[in-house]
């Protein structure tokens, strides 16, 4: 039974996607069925969490031969830390599906089918223990995202999708070459049991692919367009969930299989990540619209996570994993809130927004709470994550830690600017008097995300003590 649990987590949403997409449901039925499937997926994850043995290393694993002559097998399984990433993903995707259901989308069968397909692919990425299986799911994420942005996105969606796909594919094709190189040289493609390699080129192939996906400076060119042109819930998934595939790749593949190159090239990766951290923070501070702030803060936060991972010690990795979960929940909540604001005002520009707090207490409270957690106020889960990351990197050189600390100050600046730009100041010209507060349905979608964050703030050790690297 346990053996099949991971496979069930992957296959259930894929099967649900087919059912939603192929059978002739009415618009209403397609959406509610997709939401139901997403909630069942969360249930399956909770079931896995209960059965999980956090002292056991790789758990819930299953291995079947796929093509034996090259040593490729369907091998999936979860570590403690990847279980948390899966949990964050299924929760965020469920809320994204619920949000889309509430706002309504054209061609709902195709839309929700793709969202469920994406869920399965994301879970597949986080649970794959074979390089080729990983690559398959990594690319499989791209297919639904391409359509979700390209068909249901904003006016500039075509340009955004082209950029997004070309960047991502260029990176992942390099990774394919690296996978071939590693696998042929070592006769196995297994991630969990594969031997370590000292080949710097192969290591770089992996790192570039993940650096595009995260994204890391200077490979973030696709990010602002993709995050602005997608619908709100797709942006939430892109920045909250999909970017974490890079974190998984760094930790499970690049650092684990290539310890020596990772050590040699640590300054390079840390340098790029630090540059991205500072640069992204400044861009977020200067961004003219809500989505811009969240998008560039995503760049900064992913850079911070990369710094934690490339501290190459347990402290940094624990912080990075905790922060990946944090950032997933935070940026999903923020993007959904941005979507709610845009629905009411038809704009995200700070110049035309403002003063929305008056008479809209729910919006003000939720946005404020999420923003405060995002700027890592002491006591929040984001603070715990960032603290661990900085503590982990301190041993590698205090300079990195100082840069990280500066970025945390900058985070406070851009988050507060965003909160005040939307909620406070004079009432903006685009804010109609009759714009409603958050509706109960919107609260039902966003509040669970914030609640998860509050629980983690109270008890970050729930994750950091259950990682089983």
């Amino acid at each position: 039974m346990n053996e099949w649990l991971t496979t069930a987590l992957i296959v259930f949403p894929l099967a649900a996607a087919l059912v939603v997409w192929i059978l002739p449901w009415s618009n209403q039925a397609a959406g509610s069925l997709a939401l139901l499937a997403a909630l069942v997926e969360v249930g399956i994850w909770i079931n896995a969490l209960i059965r999980f043995d956090f002292d056991g290393g790789l758990e819930l694993q299953q291995q079947r031969e796929w093509f034996g002559d090259l040593g490729v097998s369907y091998h999936v399984g979860l570590y403690g830390w990847s279980l948390w990433l899966v949990g964050m993903s299924v929760v965020v995707l469920a809320s994204a599906i619920a949000y889309a259901y509430w706002t309504g989308r054209d061609n709902p069968r195709a839309y929700f089918g793709l969202m469920l397909f994406l869920t399965g692919a994301v879970v597949g990425v986080f649970s794959s223990q074979d390089l080729l299986v990983f690559y398959v799911f990594f690319e499989a994420m791209l297919i639904p995202l391409y359509v979700l942005v390209g068909v249901w996105g904003g006016p500039g969606r075509l340009g955004a999708t082209i950029k997004f796909v070309i960047y991502t594919m260029a990176g992942s094709l390099l990774m394919l070459a690296a996978i071939v190189g590693y696998g042929i040289e070592h006769g196995t493609f297994d991630i969990a049991e594969g031997p370590t390699s000292g080949n710097h080129w192969i290591f770089l192939g992996f790192v570039i692919a993940f650096a595009v996906k995260a994204p890391l400076f200077p490979l973030h060119g696709w990010l602002p367009d993709a995050y602005r042109e997608s619908s709100a819930e797709v942006s939430a998934v892109l920045s909250g969930v999909v970017s974490k595939a890079a974190g998984f790749g760094f930790l499970a593949i690049a650092i684990r299989l290539f310890p020596e190159p990772a050590d040699d090239l640590q300054p390079l990766v840390l340098g790029l990540a630090t540059a991205g951290l500072i640069y992204g923070s400044f861009l977020a501070f200067r961004a003219p619209d809500v989505r811009g702030v969240i998008a560039y803060s995503s760049l900064a936060q992913m850079s911070l996570i990369t710094i934690g991972l490339f501290a190459l010690d347990d402290l940094g990795s624990s912080g990075a994993v905790l922060h990946m979960v944090n950032h997933g929940l935070i940026s999903a909540a923020l993007f959904l809130l941005a979507g709610a604001v845009e629905r009411r005002t038809a704009t995200g520009d700070f110049a035309r927004l403002g003063g929305m707090a008056r008479g809209r207490p729910a919006l003000a409270t939720v946005l404020m709470a999420t923003g405060i957690i995002a700027l890592a106020v002491p006591g929040s889960s984001a603070f715990a994550g960032e603290f661990l990351i900085l503590a982990g990197i301190f041993d590698d050189g205090w300079g990195w830690a100082v840069a990280g600390a500066i970025a945390i100050v900058l985070a406070a600046m851009y988050m507060l600017r965003m909160i005040s730009g939307v909620l406070h100041q004079d009432v903006g010209p685009a804010v109609p008097e009759e714009a409603l507060d958050l509706r109960p349905a919107e609260l039902a979608v966003i509040v669970p995300l914030v609640a998860c964050l509050l629980v983690l703030s109270a008890w970050p050790a729930a994750i950091t003590e259950r990682l089983s690297f």
Partner: protein, 491 residues
């Protein structure tokens, strides 16, 4: 002179198709006019089924590779597997052809020629000496010349036939000249005898042999439409009737590449340090030229023609690897590639019949939402061409790269990776047109009403999709087939 013993069983795939061809021709005369189309199509399809069954039996019953009919024909699993691919492609091509508005007075000949062409291909992949090689090549080429030009009411069809005839004949002449040089130097026709002669007489650096080898590679490159021998490809693919383009892109490419591999590894193992480099260079040129030229095409058939040039490049990487993994990779790659190629041209044929004009990126707009089954199939075919997962195209590319890496050609892997990245732009452009264009940009079908329903075409396209996706999940059984076939080559 002795009459050689003839192993009829080894020839059965070709014979089945020849019989079907003859029967279809008889039907064109004897069957009442209204029933000619159905009769000849069924006969032709049965011919391909028969050839497929015969090839399957041949594969099953040939655990050892042998030479038959006075050493002119090789009976082995390598050839049998290629025949299976040809038979499958031909069978599906019949389904795509059925609704084509061919002139009623030519339809019997059309299917007869299609079957005869398949027979020639089945014969060619078994060729074991330079004579049967040339015979098979001309046999199927002449059928194709006529098939390309069969829509005589369209100037572009005539142009395609003529162009293919001239350039193809030039390619054949080069090949024939090369064969003559090799024969002159070694005194042997049969492939393994050529290898033995080169070895015994110390002809490794002999000028005649090298010139002959180069001309052989060039001649086969014409048929495989590998750059720089591809210049006929876009015009012919564009002008020929779309079902014929579909069949050519799948089957012609398959047999030409399979035969290239057979000739090079059987007849010229001693020269492999030279021809691997030559093939690798041709592969790189094909990848670069095919992909870059495809970027600027608006006409879908031309775009896929250039894409087929680039795929010849990918498969030549497998040939250049010159190892057993490479032979396996080539055979595997051909399965999803042929299916995707047939299917993609099938979708284009459907749109062409609906609009009555050439299919471009503009007028395919919105098709994905109008005709969901064909739309999703086209998605799958484009992803397969681009080598994305959940299609067999991914596994094929993976095997090709693995083969290249194993023989130390890491830069070929990098070239393949760059080519794939470029190719994404135009493959995704097709999907972009079909699904993402603004409603205002859409050019709707000129005639009102719903598009014509063509059950046969749709079924064929769906079958292609099933093979394309199925070859991703069922890798092991297919690779086992390819492995047993590759093991019979002298690698």
């Amino acid at each position: 002179m002795d009459t050689p013993t003839v192993d009829w069983f080894a020839l059965s795939p070709s014979l089945a198709l020849l019989a079907a061809s003859g029967l279809a021709l008889l039907g064109a005369v004897l069957v009442p006019r209204g029933a000619v189309r159905a009769f000849s199509a069924v006969v032709c399809a049965l011919g391909f089924v028969g050839a497929g069954v015969a090839a399957g039996l041949l594969y099953w019953k040939s655990p050892e590779a042998t030479l038959e009919v006075a050493d002119a024909i090789s009976r082995d699993r390598f050839g049998a597997l290629a025949q299976l691919i040809v038979a499958g492609a031909g069978f599906l091509a019949v389904g795509i052809s059925y609704g084509q508005r061919t002139r009623e007075d030519h339809v019997g000949e059309y299917f007869a020629l299609l079957a005869a062409c398949g027979g020639g291909m089945a014969f060619l992949v078994q060729a074991a000496n330079l004579m049967t090689l040339f015979l098979g090549l001309e046999w199927f080429s002449i059928c194709l010349y006529i098939l390309c030009a069969i829509e005589i009411d369209r100037v572009s069809s005539l142009e395609a036939g003529l162009k293919y005839l001239i350039v193809g004949s030039f390619g054949s002449a080069v090949l024939l000249f090369g064969s003559a040089l090799v024969y002159g130097a070694t005194g042997a026709l049969e492939f393994s005898a050529i290898a033995a002669a080169i070895d015994e007489q110390g002809l490794v650096n002999d000028g005649l042999v090298l010139a002959g080898l180069a001309m052989l590679i060039a001649g086969l490159g014409f048929k495989a439409s590998a750059a720089p021998f591809h210049m006929w490809t876009p015009d012919v693919y564009e002008g020929a009737p779309t079902p014929i383009t579909a069949f050519m892109s799948a089957a012609t490419k398959a047999v030409a590449l399979v035969l290239t591999m057979r000739v090079l590894v059987t007849a010229f193992p001693a020269e492999d340090d030279l021809w691997t480099i030559a093939v690798a260079v041709i592969a790189c040129v094909s990848l670069a030229w095919g992909n870059i030229a495809a970027l600027v095409q608006r006409n879908l058939k031309r775009m896929l023609a250039y894409s087929s040039v680039s795929h010849a490049g990918f498969m030549l990487i497998a040939v250049a690897a010159d190892n057993e993994l490479g032979a396996k990779a080539l055979l595997f790659y051909l399965i999803p590639y042929s299916a995707a190629s047939l299917g993609a041209f099938g979708v284009i044929a459907a749109r062409e019949r609906e609009l009555g004009q050439r299919v471009t990126l503009e007028n395919i707009g919105g098709m994905g939402w109008e005709r969901p089954v064909l739309g999703v199939s086209m998605w799958v075919f484009m992803l397969a061409f681009a080598g994305l997962p959940l299609t067999g195209g991914f596994v094929g590319k993976f095997y090709v790269f693995a083969a290249a890496w194993e023989s130390g050609w890491w830069w070929l892997v990098v070239a393949g990776v760059i080519a794939t990245a470029i190719s994404l732009y135009y493959y995704l452009a097709v999907i972009r047109s079909m699904y993402m264009r603004m409603p205002a940009e859409l050019q709707l079908a000129p005639a009102g009403g719903s598009p014509p329903r063509e059950a046969l075409l749709s079924t064929s396209v769906v079958a292609c999709m099933a093979v394309t996706v199925g070859s991703f999940f069922a890798v092991q059984p297919l690779i086992d087939l390819a492995e047993k076939a590759a093991a019979q080559l002298p690698l």
